[in-house]
């Protein structure tokens, strides 16, 4: 069933979408790079533990590292090759972290080795275990281990399973393409998710700029599944879980709480498709769909790229401008700037947006806050970013957290986007949140 709804969350912004550059381009397989650089922590939680040794030959899809505890996921080999080195690898932000250098066999057929299938008839616990074993994390960008998110806490129940096909970040079209090209995987994934959540109904939330995807999915809903496709107005940050739940269910997730507190579980649509694609074959994630776009790219498009492919290799293949200036891993609203080209594609990389020199707006003058209130009207969780910004400048972090709900901020960037004074509000808040967390844990350890 396809339903149009004018319901949405309050506030938010409308940045230029720039999706038309790639949303008509089908997903294409990316070539295998000669060297895979694979960090062991591509998810929230503990890094995976390496179980191979240097010099060992591995097949594509083989387990390279196992999950270290519950809040962790394993890593599978993205290519068939030989483990060159187990050492620190460059990761985003300029640091290094534990990882594996994997040299690709140049003439291998790159057949994927499969594990034990997890059938739909398996118990919910076995399916959750299967999801962890497949190394699945939130592919929308957060990279939170999916099996942890799907675990319904004792005493709670799930009524609504929400499949998040919003993709509100400008430029990105991966979820859009996945919805158009992997409908069967998505519905298989939904079957697995229904087994573990025991939800009564499923809503696939899609923004009105992807009507073709909504029609496509709505036409293919299996008769036995309680699925509705709901089209909502375009607005950033509707893809944020809390905003989407408000848009679809009209309920607010309590501050500091989780969707399950309003009897909902929300899963990204590409994550759902991966569950449906991998579990029946007992496979793990070894590649993902990435939108590569931006004014600095010649061959814009959506590519299925092996995890661990170095950014430099990717950019060379898509004809990036020589004078590239800024690269955002993810979209321009919440993505992180790449500090160098030696980092690699990880499970959370939903897009690579590249700007050349001429496309980057020169650093604009920062004016004082004129209290225009644009940020107050933009904040989707009704904070007062203007006040928070002033408090941050005077380092009044405790007041920010205790009086002005700093910790509820999920850094969507709407406030900084509209600020006429160019004040880097989100940057202030990120720093402040880090300091508040540190102070809290210091107090806890006294």
């Amino acid at each position: 069933m396809l339903k149009f709804s004018s319901n949405t969350f309050k506030h938010g912004v409308h940045p230029p979408e720039h999706k038309e550059d790639t949303n008509k381009r089908p997903v294409r397989q990316f070539p295998f790079p000669p060297l895979i650089v694979l960090p062991m922590q591509q998810h929230i939680g503990k890094p995976a533990q390496v179980i191979v040794r240097e010099g060992q030959e591995v097949a594509r899809g083989q387990l390279l590292a196992k999950a270290d505890g519950y809040l962790s996921v394993p890593m599978h080999a993205p290519v068939s090759g030989v483990v060159r080195k187990i050492a620190n690898v460059p990761v985003i932000g300029g640091q290094k972290a534990s990882g594996i250098y994997l040299e690709t066999f140049p003439f291998s057929g790159q057949e994927v080795v499969e594990g034990a299938p997890v059938p739909l008839s398996a118990s919910p616990e076995a399916i959750l275990q299967g999801i962890q074993d497949a190394g699945i994390v939130g592919l929308g960008g957060a990279a939170f281990p999916t099996h942890v998110k799907l675990k319904i806490p004792e005493g709670k129940f799930c009524e609504h399973l929400i499949i998040n096909g919003i993709e509100c970040e400008p430029y990105l079209t991966t979820d859009h393409r996945v919805m158009l090209e992997q409908a069967d995987d998505i519905f298989t994934g939904i079957r697995y998710l229904l087994r573990v959540t025991d939800a009564k109904q499923v809503i696939i939330g899609i923004e009105a700029n992807k009507k073709d995807a909504a029609d496509h999915l709505a036409d293919r809903i299996p008769d036995d599944l309680p699925v509705k496709v709901k089209v909502v107005p375009v607005k950033y940050p509707q893809g944020a879980e809390k905003m989407l739940i408000t848009a679809l269910l009209g309920k607010e997730v309590p501050s500091g709480g989780f969707p399950i507190d309003v009897h909902a579980v929300a899963v990204n649509v590409a994550t759902t498709a991966e569950i449906g694609r991998l579990l029946p074959h007992g496979r793990g994630i070894q590649e993902r769909v990435v939108t590569i776009t931006g004014p600095g790219i010649k061959k814009k498009g959506n590519y299925l790229i092996p995890i661990g492919t170095p950014l430099r290799f990717v950019l060379e293949h898509v004809g990036a401008a020589k004078n590239l200036s800024e690269i955002y891993m993810g979209g321009p609203m919440m993505g992180v700037s790449a500090s160098d080209l030696d980092i690699s594609i990880v499970k959370g990389t939903s897009g690579i947006v590249v700007f050349g020199d001429e496309n980057v707006k020169k650093v604009d003058k920062i004016y004082p806050c004129i209290k225009c209130g644009a940020c107050v009207d933009a904040c989707p969780i009704y904070l007062n970013p203007s006040r928070l910004g002033i408090l941050a400048k005077s380092e009044a972090y405790d007041a920010m957290a205790e009086e002005y709900h700093l910790m509820d901020c999920f850094e969507c960037g709407s406030c900084s986007y509209v600020c006429p004074s160019n004040i880097p509000l989100v940057q202030y808040f990120r720093v402040a949140k880090g300091i508040v967390r540190k102070r809290k844990s210091a107090v806890a350890h006294v």
Binding site: L324, M333, L341, K361, I370, V418, Q427
Partner: protein, 332 residues
């Protein structure tokens, strides 16, 4: 192949692109028709007053920045607005040397002393005007009729008065509709008021052009429409009630809306972002407070006009409103 160093920045990496300077520039655009009409109505004297006020404000801002070893901030356009607004609130034959002092003090004491744009508690133009009102009570209440035949050729002696000399009283003067009502109980036609065919401060007379300027800014989302609506609504309702009780002694609500500086104040001064609250409910409270004060001062106070003090008091109240009125945070 790629040898260049990458730029890194904190997300979000894009901005809507409507900067402070853009907003200020548009406020100036919105004020230009008002100023043009004022010059048309009051002639060369009004032009001299507006230009003097502009020069004083911009020059003061520039010199104070230089003196404090900071880059000049005149490019942000706020000093231009202060100059225009101050000029528009003065009588058409206000002595230029007084205008100049008003402009200097508006920027120096109204804004710069607090730390510049964004930190000022009060609307700088109104601070300047309040000082002038206290210092030169006679000159600032010496009105002048509009549409005199020789208005484009004759410069008033009062305008060119020598600094600190005995005030020159200009031969012709015209009572404002408000003072006529307050002191002589003469009401003016509302249509004349709305179109600006009356005596008054330079830019206060054409309510229609002021409203159009405000509408332009509201449409471009550069002005909070709630503020003028709340102020004008409060004035209309309270004066309407009084008029209904006794139309003999109280002026009609239409007269209250279109007379004096209410329109200019409600649209261009009370909406100064720095001095008004930040939340939607906060600005409504602020607007109603100003509107009620305007009526109270005009009807029961000693002055014929109360818009200036009402807005200044509203500015003073605004941080407290923000302290008290906080939006409910999502999920709480």
């Amino acid at each position: 192949m790629f040898s260049k160093t990458l730029r890194i920045s904190s997300s979000p990496h894009i901005n809507k692109g409507v900067g402070v300077d853009v907003i200020m520039r548009n406020v100036v655009y919105a004020l230009l028709p008002v100023a043009a009409f004022a010059v048309y109505a009051f002639g060369i004297n009004a032009l001299l007053v507006i230009v003097t006020s502009l020069i004083a404000c911009v020059l003061t801002e520039h010199l104070l920045c230089r003196l404090s070893n900071r880059p000049s901030t005149i490019a942000d356009g706020s000093a231009v607005i202060t100059g225009l607004l101050l000029g528009l609130t003065l009588p058409p034959i206000f002595p230029l040397w007084m205008t100049f002092i008003g402009g200097v003090l508006a920027v120096a004491l109204g804004k710069f002393i607090f730390g510049g744009l964004g930190y000022n508690a009060f609307n700088p133009a109104l601070v300047g005007r309040a000082i002038l009102q206290a210092a030169f009570p006679v000159a600032i209440t010496t009105w002048h009729p509009a549409f005199l035949a020789d208005r484009f050729t004759r410069v008033s002696e009062s305008v060119l008065a020598f600094p600190f000399a005995k005030p020159v009283v200009d031969g012709i003067s015209g009572a404002t509709p408000l003072s006529a009502f307050k002191f002589d109980q003469v009401a003016t036609e509302s249509a004349d008021l709305a179109l600006g065919l009356i005596s008054g401060s330079i830019g206060e007379t054409s309510s229609l052009l002021i409203a159009l300027g405000g509408l332009y800014l509201i449409v471009r989302k550069m002005m909070n429409w709630r503020i003028p609506v709340a102020i004008l609504g409060a004035v209309y309702v309270l004066s309407g009630i009084l008029y209904w009780i006794n139309p003999e002694i109280y002026p009609s609500p239409e007269f209250m809306l279109f007379s004096g500086g209410l329109m200019l104040g409600a649209v261009f001064m009370a909406t100064d972002m720095v001095g008004s609250p930040i939340t939607p409910l906060g600005v409504v409270i602020y607007g109603i407070f100003i509107g009620l004060l305007v009526v109270v001062i005009r009807i029961w106070g000693g002055l014929p006009e109360g818009v200036m003090y009402a807005i200044l008091l509203g500015n003073a109240l605004s941080p407290h409103i923000d302290q008290l009125i906080r939006p409910r945070v999502y999920g709480t």
